[in-house]
């Protein structure tokens, strides 16, 4: 894999079977998720590919989704930095190193904020190894391909954060989310400008007319889960977050 240099993701290769705990849920609802892997003698593992990650209907569920977003983005930029496209400039690499650093910091901070509790903490506390993400939907061998992919990921991130803020109950989590939201929007503007000059706030993300004019994207948690589906080796279930 290209992201060998990412020490926080590396280590053992993904086990054949991996158990996914319900993000932030109680033991009772995790039984629901385990229904698909009831044949396992060892409840800490399940079949990769049939694994399911259910986000709980609370702040912990929300933070687990932002944690996953940060994991994906960190992994993406790490892959780019480790194996940059041939036409990448030094400035491109420097920018991607910056964004990689930001995303790794988000990932580690979310993990720390969520805490080590296997039931109520980060969703992957009980995993033998972190999830490995699949970026094959993207063309990462050209500068244009990298920035097109980054544009997709960062715009998903901004829309996701914009949709999650009002679902949070804890004001200090909202403050944390917003401190990151605007930096994600800076990433989005930057990579959009690289993908297509002066598209930092293009009409595909900022509504141009009508009563939503001048407003950025919102993505619901279910839309976010759908957008990320092809990148993640498990099924994401964000329906609970829609109740918030």
């Amino acid at each position: 894999m290209a992201d060998l240099a990412d020490t926080s993701f590396s280590g053992r290769a993904l086990h054949r079977r991996t158990f996914l705990r319900v993000a932030g849920a109680t033991a009772a609802s995790s039984a629901l998720v385990l229904a698909g892997c009831g044949k396992d003698d060892d409840p800490t593992v399940t079949d990769v590919g049939t694994g399911t990650l259910v986000f709980a209907a609370n702040d912990t569920g929300i933070l687990n989704l932002t944690y996953l977003l940060a994991q994906i983005s960190a992994s993406f930029y790490q892959k780019v930095v480790t194996t940059p496209p041939a036409d990448f400039t030094a400035a491109d690499t420097a920018a991607c190193v910056d964004m990689r650093d930001h995303e790794v910091i988000y990932r580690e901070l979310y993990k720390s904020v969520l805490g080590p509790n296997p039931q109520t903490g980060a969703y992957d506390n009980g995993l033998a190894t972190a999830l490995e993400f699949n970026f094959t939907p993207y063309t990462l061998t050209t500068r244009a391909g990298v920035y097109a992919a980054a544009r997709t990921l960062e715009d998903i991130g901004v829309g996701a954060y914009n949709g999650l803020g009002r679902r949070l109950r804890n004001g200090s989590y909202l403050r944390l989310l917003l401190k990151i939201t605007s930096v994600k929007a800076r990433h989005a503007a930057f990579v959009r400008d690289q993908a297509e000059p002066d598209s930092f706030a293009g009409s595909d993300v900022i509504t141009q007319t009508g009563n939503q004019a001048g407003l950025d994207t919102i993505k619901t948690p279910v839309e976010v889960a759908k957008s990320l589906a092809s990148l993640v080796p498990v099924v994401l279930v964000a329906d609970n977050l829609m109740l918030l």
Binding site: T7, S8, A95, D98, D101, H102, V104, I105, Y106, E108, L109, S112, V113, V158, Y161, N162, G165, R166, R167, G171, S172, L174, R175, L176, L178, K179, I180, T181, S182, V183, K184, A185, R186, H187, A188, A189, F190, D193, P197, D198, F200, A201, I206, Q208, N211, A213, G214, L215, D216, T217, I218
Partner: protein, 266 residues
């Protein structure tokens, strides 16, 4: 008792009454609290506690005050970009296109906030103008001011989100403006050859930019959620990595201070 009648009467003395109530969450949160308003002693407890919730928060500004504060900043930005366009120093092509797009967004924000405040029976501020004497003659310095305004806007919206938590619809819209301001800021910074994100060193810049990145929580802050990013996350990160990863708030008083946006209002 007719709660609608009470609200109607209140609206005569408090233009923000609907803003205070315009949230199911605020209503349900209010259900559990104790009745404190003597005037409503005869009303059912749940209504009294609802009013207590709506009027009992002496700490923060009202929703109308928050929206008018946001509108003030949007009007200031809009007028600045109008002056910038009229001054004719912006190079044709991409720079002019970017400034025109940003102006268009600021105008849309002004319209949206004005309508929202009116819908909530508030009185929207108007005629906020950028101080002519502070308007730079040359394009490069105009961009410096644009960066100051946009990065201030990002910090200002972020600073008010907590005051909008009681109204999820308004919070939603504020967040959708907040990220647009951040996109603007990133692009203006790029036009100036800066990183799109704010480095730790920005907090030490001379005026007019420096004060934009200072305040009670400076942009070079490295502690988030009680976690020191440089030392507490297993892997050490530099102070600049830690600072650039997060944007910080400015309070209303900080933004309106003469050293920041407050000093740019005519």
């Amino acid at each position: 008792m007719n709660i609608l009648r009470i609200i109607e009467q209140l609206s005569e003395v408090d233009a923000d009454v609907l803003g205070r109530f315009d949230s199911r969450r605020a209503v349900f949160k209010g259900l559990g609290s104790t009745a404190k308003k003597g005037a409503l002693a005869a009303a059912p407890v749940f209504v009294a506690s609802l009013f207590s919730k709506a009027y009992g928060q002496a700490a923060g500004p009202s929703i109308i005050e928050v929206l008018n504060y946001a509108l003030t900043l949007e009007l200031l930005e809009e007028d600045f970009y109008k002056k910038m366009t009229a001054a004719g120093k912006v190079p044709a092509g991409a720079p002019a296109g970017a400034i025109a797009l940003i102006l268009k967004h600021e105008t849309a924000h002004v319209a949206l906030l004005t309508k929202t405040i009116s819908d909530l029976k508030g009185t929207p501020v108007k005629d906020v103008k950028f101080k002519q004497s502070a308007f730079p003659a040359d394009y490069e310095t105009q961009l410096v001011v644009a960066q100051a305004l946009e990065d201030t806007g990002v910090r200002a919206y972020k600073g008010q989100a907590g005051n909008l938590m009681s109204n999820s619809a308004l919070l939603q819209v504020a967040l959708q403006i907040h990220s647009v301001e951040a996109r603007h800021a990133a692009h203006i910074r790029t036009m100036r050859g800066q990183t799109a994100w704010i480095p730790a060193s920005a907090s030490s810049l001379p005026a007019p930019l420096g004060p934009v990145y200072t305040g009670n929580i400076r942009e070079d802050n490295v502690v988030q959620s009680k976690v020191n990013i440089t030392t507490d996350l297993g892997t050490p990160y530099t102070a600049n990595e830690a600072a650039a990863s997060f944007d910080e708030i400015l309070t209303m008083a900080e933004v309106l201070d003469a050293s920041r946006a407050g000093g740019l209002v005519a």
